[in-house]
Every structure is written in structure tokens, then in C-alpha cells.
Point group: C2
Chain length 344, copies 2
């Protein structure tokens, strides 16, 4: 079958790879109907050291179950399923607590001999725990929004949930990428009173307003901070959702959060040290968030997608075939595209 | 009147200062019955640059109301009162939210022309919002435990509350100072299933066990981390209460917290950068805590002290007079004493 592999920074190729097969009795094989290129795929695309063997890519996909192992329950051949971006057994203590990203038998797509989502088929470990069946089955119209639950929408929802967004709360969302916009939608769902979106790409912030942003701040750095302060009578917001992962974004978060407030970050940090010393200590700031256990949220969000309450798939602004994946990376890295949907 | 002043590192003197008077109609004057030397007073005692004018010291006291301003309500002359370690108006949005340390009209003892607690009398700003009347009045036996509510016990309780300590949770407390021990007591009150106290002073950890610690880890650094991991089947604890304020303590906290867990710190950080990068992000660690809004907790804790449920005053292991305050600093800095109670 065909699949995308990354050989180094800027070097993505689509090649022939072995067809996946059931290895463990808990596995399933899923034919990919749609996959994504993720903002987080752009980190290695910018910096990966060249390797002789390519790395399988893609950790977001929806598809049809083609084969199941002997121990798989709750999933049948022919089911249309959503795969969260980490595989998990669904039974360990972490999974039962809703922290499937720390599953004791978890696996990551594209590593440890597991296929990536950017390919024709995927062997899914721990299929019973990992996959979520779409009860309504395949529906072409819903593919983008169901696919968004694999990662970006669940990640935005994780940010908002961990941030304690609730009616009466003011929220700043830092970053107008697909996750930032999903965080806006999640904050709106959770009843935020005011949502200030910090981003400077007009097309994206337009979607942000559609998702529920009440204000858009295009300025960055000190000017951006000043603008948020101006909008909040000098106080900042109760919650800040940080969806970038670079240090200046987190520094901004500390400057626009209200005393007693919460910074919830879902941008994977590309740095080690957080400026979280005496000043924010005296203001009782909380820093939370982390990699999203998408599996914990998919059922709830799926119901809202099926009911037409939310349309998180609007973050996709280009559809490509599998062979076009290298160009898709390039266009996302060049910010020509917000988020790419791949139809193998 | 007499009061303690700090002129520089290691240089505390007791001198004559002007008697406090009502300045604002919201002020009260309180005759100090008992005050403390705080672990946080030891930071300037170790490092303060010498100054010609001494700084008034002390931010924990209980006493008797001697005089009230025209606008003071709810407080009467003769009342026995507890002062939290920050003055607050009790009416602003932060105070109503229980974050009195961010009060819009707050004041700190010993700064901005406000007296310190280590003296004979104190002018109390925003007296109606700040002071908590002890309904039972003065009781010699209860003085230490009531005094502990000014800061250390409320601070320990803040740590445990912000950390989400609850039945079924495992807790590590880092630091066997008066705040760490108070955090143990608070964690016990909130129903923690297991409380591991990291500390190496036998007298202190003995009190820690009395307060509810189920295990004591005397090792520090990597050995201490290994020991906590051993006690928790390799996982660490759901909650870590950090009551030191030095970077190695917080580094230890990140190493003994369970994935999905919470580090709640009340040790005032003596550093800026927190090692909170990709690793703890992938484990969904939360870092919370901060300076304790003692005022938010005193009424609740006071009821438990009056009912004999808790005896947080056990952290005091020496009583001195006001003239002995310089020696009290020395002995606390030299770790000869856990916490000093001053009777002016």
C-alpha cells in the first residue's frame, strides 16, 4: 500500500510500504477514509535530522474497519470509526480516569512498528479501547468534522476543560491555528462570557469569530498584551488557552491572565523553562493542560457533531490525495493552508 | 512602643517606634497578644542589603482591638482577633472570589507605612475586611493554634485545597517546615488516602506523623524520588504539596507527581524558571498554588480549632518575648527552632 514517510526536515515522500496485518489479537486493520496533516507534524518538518529510513507520519484518521483480531470487542468489520491520536487499552487506571494518553499499554501512530494515519491502511493496536464507532456510519458530509475529533477539536476541548472555562468566565485564546480555533469553539460550548482570540491571519480569525470569538487581537508581544488588558479593564482574563507551543506565546499567556486565573496550554512546548517565578506565584496563577486525551472526549463531541451543534471540520481548508501529501506539508509550513485533509 | 526592625541580613533590632494611630476611618488599632517569626522572614534575614532605615517585620499576629475608625463595622473594641498575613477590604471582586491576596485595596504588614506584627501594636488597614473575630474571645490555651491560622495553617490548607486533595488521593508533601507540616495536617483533613512527607529533621517529621503523614522519606534528590516511587508502585502521587520554595524542591515535585497529577506549591519561589517543558506536558501535570489568601480559610479553620478537631499550633516549639526577637531569628535560621511564637 502507499503511505507518507518523513526522511528529514522538508523531506516527505509517499512510498510503497507493507500492507498492515493483525499482529496481536487486540488489533484491528482500518482502511483510512480521511487523514490530516497536523500542526505538530510541522515541528519535525522544520527540524528533523535526515535519516536513511523514513518515519511513518500522521496520527489523525477516520476509516472503515476491514479486519479485527480475535480479542477485539465492540468493533465490527465495516464499522466507520474515529481514531484518537494515541492508542489506548480503555481498561487501565489511567484510561478509566480519562487520561488515555498515559495508558499503560498505549501506542503512538507512526512509532514502535505502528502505521501512521497518512496512508491507505493502519494497524490499530488495542482496537477495542482506541477506536470510537460512529453509530450513524459513514456520511460524506460529516467526514471533516468527525476527523477533527481525532485531534484538533478534542485538543481544543481539553484546553478549555482543563482551563475551567464556564459561564461567566473570560477567555483569551493564543494562536489562530486549527487548535486555537477549536479552543475558541470549545470555550464557546462551555459557556465563556467573552472570548478574545489573539491571531493575525484574517481568514483564520474570521473563522474564529464564527466559532465564537467576541474580540480579535492582531497585535503580538507587548502590544498584544496591552490590547487584551485594555479589553479587560486592565485585569486580563480568567482563563488563557495557549495553542502555539512557543515560549513567547506562553510568556504572553502569563501577562494576560487575571490574578487567580488559569493558563491551559495545549501547544506542545518547544522549550524547557517556563517563566513561572515569584510574580505569578503572588498572583496565584495555575498552569495546566498538556497533551489531550482525545479518546476521553470523542463520544461527547461526536454526539454534538451528529446533532449538527458543532462543525469543527470547518478548520480544513484544503483536501488533497495521498500522493499530494508532500505538497500539503509545504503549504501548511508556508501558512498557505490552515489544515489539510487527506483522502487516500 | 517597641517593635522589631530588620536593617539587613542577620541584623534585626528591637527599637522604639511611634505608637500606631487611626489614619483612615477603616483602620483599627490592635494590641498584639502573640506574633510569629515566619519562614519567609528568613529570606531577607539571609540576604537583605543593609539599609539606614530598618524595615518593620512580622505578618502573623493575634490580638485585642483597642480602637476602631469611624467606618469599621463588625469589629468592636475588646474583640480578640486573628489577622491574616495580608490586609484586604473584603468587598472587592477578588475578595469575594476568595483571593484576598489580590485585593484591590490590600496592604502588607511592614510595608507602605503599615506596622509589622512583631511589635506591641499594629494599625490594621481595612479592618472590617481583614480581621476575624474569635467568637469565644481570648483563651490562653488556644493562642498558638489561633495564631497559626494567620499564615502557616492557612497556607498549608491553601496548598492542599488548590492541589485538589480529596479522599482516595495520594499526596507527597515536600518540606518539613511549619508550612509543610501544616500541609500534612490539611491533607489529612481533606481525606488524603496516603501522605508521604519528605523531610529529614526527626523532631519535625515526628510531628508530621502526628498530623497524619503515613510515610516519611528522609532522602533527598534522586534518592528521595526513588523512595517515593518505590512507595507508589513507580507512579508517584496524585498530588504534591511543595512547601520549600527552592528550585530543587520543585524539581523533585515534578519527579514524584503521577501523570495527570497536580503540584501545588506554597513555598515562595526563590527562582524564576520552572522546568516545565515537553516531558511534564506529555504527562498532563498541573502546577498551581501561590501565596495563600489566608483570610478565605480562617473562619472555617477557626471553627475546627475551637472544636478541638485540629491543633495547628503544635508547630510552635519556642515562646519568646519581644526583646528576644533577634535571637529568635538566629535560632530559626540555624534550624534550632521550627517556629517561634512571640509574646510582646
Amino acid at each position: 500500500m502507499r503511505a507518507a514517510l518523513m526522511y528529514g526536515a522538508g523531506d516527505v515522500r509517499v512510498e510503497n510500504v507493507p500492507d498492515p496485518q493483525i499482529v496481536e489479537p487486540t488489533d484491528a486493520v482500518v482502511k483510512v477514509v480521511a487523514a490530516c496533516i497536523c500542526g505538530s507534524d510541522l515541528w519535525p518538518y522544520a527540524s528533523k535530522v535526515p535519516t536513511a529510513e523514513g518515519a511513518r507520519m500522521g496520527h489523525e484518521f477516520v476509516g472503515t474497519v476491514e479486519e479485527i483480531g480475535a480479542d477485539v470487542t465492540g468493533i465490527s468489520v465495516g464499522d466507520f470509526v474515529i481514531a484518537p491520536f494515541v492508542a489506548s487499552d480503555g481498561t487501565c487506571d489511567y484510561c478509566r480516569e480519562g487520561l488515555q494518553t498515559s495508558c499503560r499499554h498505549g501506542a503512538h501512530w507512526g512509532s514502535d512498528g505502528v502505521d501512521g494515519g497518512q496512508g491507505e491502511r493502519v494497524r490499530v493496536p488495542q482496537a477495542s479501547g482506541t477506536l470510537v464507532v460512529v453509530p450513524a456510519g459513514f456520511d460524506e458530509q460529516l467526514v471533516p468534522s468527525l476527523l477533527a475529533l481525532s485531534d484538533v477539536m478534542s485538543t481544543g476541548y481539553h484546553a478549555a476543560t482543563k482551563g475551567g472555562v464556564a459561564p461567566g468566565k473570560s477567555v483569551t485564546v493564543i494562536g489562530d491555528g486549527a487548535v486555537g480555533l477549536s479552543a475558541v469553539l470549545a470555550a464557546k460550548m462551555l459557556g465563556a462570557e467573552r472570548i478574545i482570540l489573539m491571531g493575525r491571519h484574517a481568514e483564520r480569525t474570521k473563522l474564529g469569530r464564527e466559532f465564537g470569538a467576541s474580540d480579535v487581537v492582531v497585535e503580538r508581544g507587548a502590544d498584544g498584551v496591552a490590547r487584551v488588558k485594555e479589553l479587560t479593564a486592565g485585569d486580563g482574563t480568567h482563563v488563557v488557552l495557549e495553542a502555539v507551543g512557543l515560549k513567547p506565546a506562553l510568556e504572553t499567556a502569563f501577562q494576560v491572565v487575571r490574578p487567580g486565573g488559569v493558563i491551559s496550554r495545549v501547544g506542545a512546548p518547544q522549550f524547557e523553562d517556563v517563566p513561572f517565578g515569584f510574580g505569578p506565584f503572588m498572583q496565584n496563577i495555575t498552569l495546566t493542560g498538556g497533551v489531550a486525551p482525545a479518546r476521553a472526549y470523542i463520544e461527547k463531541l461526536l454526539a454534538l457533531v451528529l446533532d449538527g451543534v458543532i462543525q469543527p471540520g470547518k478548520v480544513f481548508d484544503r483536501v488533497i490525495g495521498l500522493e499530494e501529501v508532500p505538497a500539503g506539508y509545504r503549504d501548511m509550513a508556508d501558512r498557505k493552508v490552515l489544515k489539510v485533509l487527506v483522502r487516500p
